[in-house]
Amino acid sequence: MFKDVTVGQYYPTDSIIHSLDPRTKINFTFLYIISLFLINNFTGYLVAFLFLVGIILLSKIPVMYVVRGIKALLFIILFTVVINLFITPGTPRFEFWIFTITEEGIALAVFMALRLIFLVTGTSLMTLSTSPIALTDGIEYLLKRVPIVKQYAHELAMMMTIALRFIPTLMEETDKIMKAQKARGADFESGNLFARAKNLIPLLVPLFISAFRRADELAVAMEARCYRGGENRTRMKELAYNKRDYAAYFITILMVVIIFLTRYSPI
């Protein structure tokens, strides 16, 4: 049941977006988030929207997948909209009972909703088009450029890789232990909150112990393969920028500049 989890909901296609260097996509995402917070009018959102739609189309990922992230945050987005509607002072537009909705309130609520939706969609797009492994490589490379952190960049990336490698294995193990305990009469499905939490002990204790044992065996196996940290280590594949990455950087910068300019637009 758990066999094929891909962390991060990677959706592989053969698109140009997928083939970009992960560093390009990470940097783009950062700049995109910053631009979102720069926007202060409809023109700005329109520009951001057009960029987003363009990228979605290029990525060949079904729109349904891209917007799925919104569902997870729907409740809090709606609540934020409602709050903004009612608490923003300004020119009253509607009034009923003790509530007043102002024009500024409506504008702010719509802006907030748009910003959150764009934020969710844009970031999901990056994780949908970049495999967790590529993402890890990209992060490692970028961390190597950050002072202080840079001496740990290799170890951090190694940790992420091993964690990704073991997630499916441990998921299968979870399933197995759960079944084994059920066969001994354990009940994971009924009882109140506290009873259920307590019933998980026969699952979680063996699971953690098994993870400890695996960690131990893995350490020995890595040592036997001459692992000694990041020093003097080479890589089979080095990340390398292509022409399309430079093009992507150009477009990204263009986007930031245009969005910045929209701040001076009248609407």
């Binding site: 197995k176 059920k182 066969a183 001994r184 009469g185 354990a186 009940d187 026969p202 204790v205 063996p206």
Partner: protein, 287 residues
């Protein structure tokens, strides 16, 4: 306690691109008190099959009936099923979790709702059945034991539920040859003593040949054969074709038969092979 599988089907991830039919229209009856060997290539559906027998997996088609209990029926309580059918998984020592051996073995019977007295009686019996001295071991941590002993504790944890049907998925993996024999002997003894129905999943044709009175052979989710060992091991070509093997002595008998047609090829234990070869030699010396 008869087990009846009627048109049993199981499809994983039904309706997705990962759809996979693991069991395909399986119908068979296992009689009370049988010692069944279950063999089949990797991925043939053995584990999926046995998990149906104690309700851990629900069929996507067909039913499982254990005695009078229809497992796919809504009113059937899981506790009733677990009480009748005990399942020992592969590497069962990885499911131990309690501080002491006694507590760990008591986990199953306690879950079934027995009172303290009954539980501790069962723990004593179960430990005895797997050859662990109660007084010496009860207060030890299960994690202080050797691999073979941990395996025994885990098996005892299921035995203590006193199931009528005991299913074991490769109980001897990773043990040395003596450890292997000891565990199988203990299972055999329990089978004889409590008239327990035993289903043993194993990759070792020699072990299956030695202990089982009937063998189920699975191939790609279907039952290929279900018969006595002597008839099944006669089908050596087919067995090899579907990724299995025959015991070495069966292979030998087959080759001997090629030169002496009177040789019986349905032989699978060293004892019987010895007899047959002695007969063969006598025959030849008489000529």
């Amino acid at each position: 306690m008869a087990i009846e599988l009627i048109n049993l089907e199981h499809t994983f991830s039904e309706g997705t691109p990962f759809e996979h039919k693991a069991l395909d229209k399986i119908s068979l009856t296992i009689d009370t008190g049988n010692f069944i060997g279950l063999i089949g290539h990797t991925g043939s559906g053995k584990s999926t099959l046995i998990q149906h027998i104690n309700g851990l997996i629900k069929p996507t088609g067909g039913t499982v009936v254990v005695d009078d209990l229809d497992l796919s029926h809504k009113d059937t309580k899981m506790a009733q099923i677990r009480r009748r059918v005990g399942l020992v998984f592969q590497y069962p020592e990885y499911q131990l979790f309690e501080e002491t051996i006694e507590k760990d073995i008591a986990f199953g019977p306690t879950n079934l709702g027995f009172d303290k007295e009954e539980v501790s009686k069962r723990v004593v019996e179960a430990m005895e059945s797997v050859g662990l001295d109660y007084n010496e071991y009860k207060d030890k941590s299960p994690f202080d034991l050797s691999g073979g002993q941990m395996r025994r504790v885990a098996i005892a944890g299921v035995i203590a539920m006193k199931p009528d049907v005991l299913i074991l998925d490769e109980p001897t993996a990773g043990l040395d040859p003596r450890g292997r024999d000891e565990i199988l002997e203990e299972i055999q003894t329990m089978h004889d003593k409590f008239k327990m129905t035993v289903i043993l999943v194993s990759h070792s044709m020699e072990d299956i040949a030695k202990y089982a009175d009937k063998i189920i052979v699975m191939y790609k989710g279907k039952v290929e054969f279900y018969d006595s060992p002597s008839s099944i091991f006669k089908e050596s070509e087919r067995l090899i074709e579907i990724g299995l093997a025959v015991p070495q002595v069966t292979e030998l008998m087959k080759k001997l038969k090629a030169v002496d047609p009177l040789v019986d090829e349905g032989i699978f234990t060293v004892e019987a092979a010895k007899e047959e070869i002695m007969n063969m030699i006598r025959r030849r010396n008489n000529v």
